[in-house]
Symmetry: C2
Amino acid sequence: MPDPALRFDELISALKERNFRLTPQRVELVRLIAISEGHPSAAQLYAAVRSRFPTMSQATVYKTLALLKDLDQVLEIDLRDDSHYDGNRPGPHPHLICMQCNKIVDGDLELDLSSLRKLEETSGYQIVRPQITFYGLCSDCKQSR
Amino acid sequence: MPDPALRFDELISALKERNFRLTPQRVELVRLIAISEGHPSAAQLYAAVRSRFPTMSQATVYKTLALLKDLDQVLEIDLRDDSHYDGNRPGPHPHLICMQCNKIVDGDLELDLSSLRKLEETSGYQIVRPQITFYGLCSDCKQSR
DNA sequence: CTAACTGCAAAAACTTTGCACTTTT
DNA sequence: AAAAGTGCAAAGTTTTTGCAGTTAG
């Protein structure tokens, strides 16, 4: 994962570049995303921002996350129940999700670009965003069975 | 895709085997799944069953789909807004989804089992259900741009 | 006959939206 | 000052749940 301070600056720059305003709420959310090592949900980010900005609303969290998604600075991982966000590796990469405890970790799997290309040819689709999710059991939950 | 009639029998057998009851509503839903070439949503299936069984409820659709999922006879494709179901290829396989018109097609991409195995080793996860979704633009929507 | 299933309506949960107020630039 | 952002509450969705009544086996 990148240096949180650098990542923070990147995110702030991305907002400044396009003339989005740097409100305190927004900066705090960006800070949390930059230092997050996991894959927080909107609700978790909301709770965290709230501890410093008690007036923060969920609506603002969602709006800001949508903004950062549009800027390709944050990757949305949409699960059945809610969405989680990856602010450290915005590019597409696989995720492993524990079906029991819901823990999410990044998967280090290379996308085979040549077969992607082939898939585009045979399907006629232009692939924009691959989303690869492996549901399974994490090492902890495997054992407790 | 398999012969709809055969697929229908398979599905019915799977239910009979485990002593689930063959109610008319259930049989009709199974019939629709067996003949479906696409990837219908719960709402679409509900509407379709309803044309023959006007009393059919959404709850029953969801309950039956959950049942067929448990029996590994139907694959759930969960998208942001709703879930779609693949009753012809229950095993995991990739899907291509058009971001503009929402058309879903099956992707003919082999899962590289050896790299899956490697991923299990490095992550400690036991992978149960891979879900690979490629968001992009279908050939029609590509052109209309 | 009875365990399983259906169907209705209400509940749940996440996310979006409208709008008045506030704040950044 | 003007445009953008915030926050509240309400609305919108899909899916789940409880339960009384019905039905397949």
